[in-house]
Amino acid sequence: MIFQKIKYFQRETLNNLWQFRARNIFSVTIICLSFLIVGIFVSLSNNLQYTAQQLSKDMVVVFFLEKNMDESDRATIEQEIKKSSLVKGIKYISSDQAMQNFLNKFPELKEIVDNLNTNPFPTSFEVTLSEKDFSYTETQPFLNKMKEMKGIEDIQFNKDWVEKMQSLSRLARAVGFFLGGILVLASFFIVSNVIKLNVLARKDEIEILRLVGGTNTFIRVPFLAEGILLGALGGILSLLFLFIVIRLFPVYLGASLGILSELINFRYLSLSQSIAIISSGAVIGFFGSMSSLAKFLKT
């Protein structure tokens, strides 16, 4: 019996989708455009997030140590640095090694270095931070504490880029969700009204179904399925268009952006983000149908 009803619902839903195709195409388009905008911002934000991650991977804090420091003081500082959960790795750089590194980077300055009587490079610890914990609020207290420590002369940490990148990514995501939120809300009302029109057009049918003993669920299911399908289809189409945008963007606009092209770039949505977009579409369709049916199924 249930199987028969499922077959009936399936047939009814498809018939209805076809019967009111013009209206349905309209609501799918609205949902698709709304999610496309959300998708574009999420994609931009993904790219910024990715760039920030790449930058923070190479992020090294250098603790310069005072000259003529004895072994035990150095070990204390090393222990103190290692204690922090932010630290992923630590490497001791001696004065000689520092000079060697410098000469490797700038071989043309070898003559100047050779003319110096002493080695001017201080000893240091090069500390790599773990990427996931990287944030200003967490690193700053650690750095402040270390600065106070005896034996540390200076700390070099170029964190600005990473932070800027991260805040840009957060901004892109926030703008995306704000604009997208408004559009998704608007599309909810549009879908709800389109389905209301469909319901109105079939008011007689609903009444007849009720009079011949149709339960509310029996009447409701094809409409809800219709809403869910329209919403999910809108979500899928938006991902398809987003894919096209991502493919075409570098071809047509990427080159003209020059140095900014690294930042203003699109990255494909993750599987969970794509699923979230499709299911949000389905949820919008479901509640759109639900709200428009409520009135007709009271008695």
């Binding site: 249930i2 028969q4 007689d204 179904l209 003993g213 029996f218």
Partner: protein
């Protein structure tokens, strides 16, 4: 089978559509409710299948007080009834077959069983050859017969018909009325609202006369 106790119905103050109606219809009865236009015939039928509520009074159908059935369980009452509406209430975007089949689909019958029953119901009203046509391609009388086929396809215990022969010529009206007698013979209780005296004279067994919302008299022939 159907018992009405002191039914009053008011749509708008100060007029009463029904005034203190008390009547009893037994199982297997073939009844007419008659009276001039505006006497409350349609209101009475609507109350019996609970499309509307009476202002006062109680109704027992098949041993159940239908006013106490909750809205979301009203379908169980309606599944025991076949209703023929004055305006047929056919779905014009669906074929004749689907119009009749809807009652069985609600109940979850298999496609094969739906086809068999719909065919039989349409054969009974002599429309099986027009099963795949749209109602708009049928004549008025044929549309009426589709509505009857839909009402009987589920073998309901009760058939309620509101002016089922309105606007039909006498010959067709008699034909349709014969259909109802056939259904009645199979055990269904039939209540027909009509103001056609000729039909009542010819087919009437139990007649309720309404006038301005009041039950004037009840006759059993």
């Amino acid at each position: 089978m159907i018992e009405l106790y002191h039914i009053w119905k008011q749509y708008q103050k100060p007029d009463w559509a029904l005034k203190d109606i008390t009547l009893n219809v037994n199982q297997g009865d073939f009844c007419f409710v008659t009276g001039p236009s505006g006497s409350g015939k349609t209101t009475l039928l609507k109350i019996i299948f609970r499309q509307i509520f009476p202002t006062h009074g109680q109704i027992i159908v098949d041993g159940r007080n239908i006013l106490r059935i909750s809205d979301h369980k009203i379908f169980s009452l309606r599944r025991t009834m076949g209703i023929v509406f004055q305006d047929f209430r056919l779905l014009f975007h669906k074929r004749v077959f689907d119009n009749v089949a809807v009652v069985l689909q609600v109940l979850g019958f298999s496609r094969k069983e739906v086809r068999r029953r719909v065919f039989n119901a349409l054969r009974m009203v002599n429309l099986n050859h027009k099963m795949w046509e749209y109602p708009s391609h049928l004549s008025y009388g044929e549309q009426q017969r589709v509505a009857i086929a839909r009402a009987v396809v589920n073998n309901p215990k009760i058939i309620l018909a509101d002016e089922p022969t309105g606007n039909l010529d006498t010959e067709l009206a008699f034909e349709i009325m014969s259909l109802f007698t056939e259904i009645n013979k199979k055990g269904a209780t039939v209540i027909i609202c009509t103001h056609d005296r000729e039909l009542i004279r010819h087919f009437g067994k139990k007649i309720f006369f309404l006038y301005k919302g009041k039950l004037l008299r009840e006759e059993t022939i």
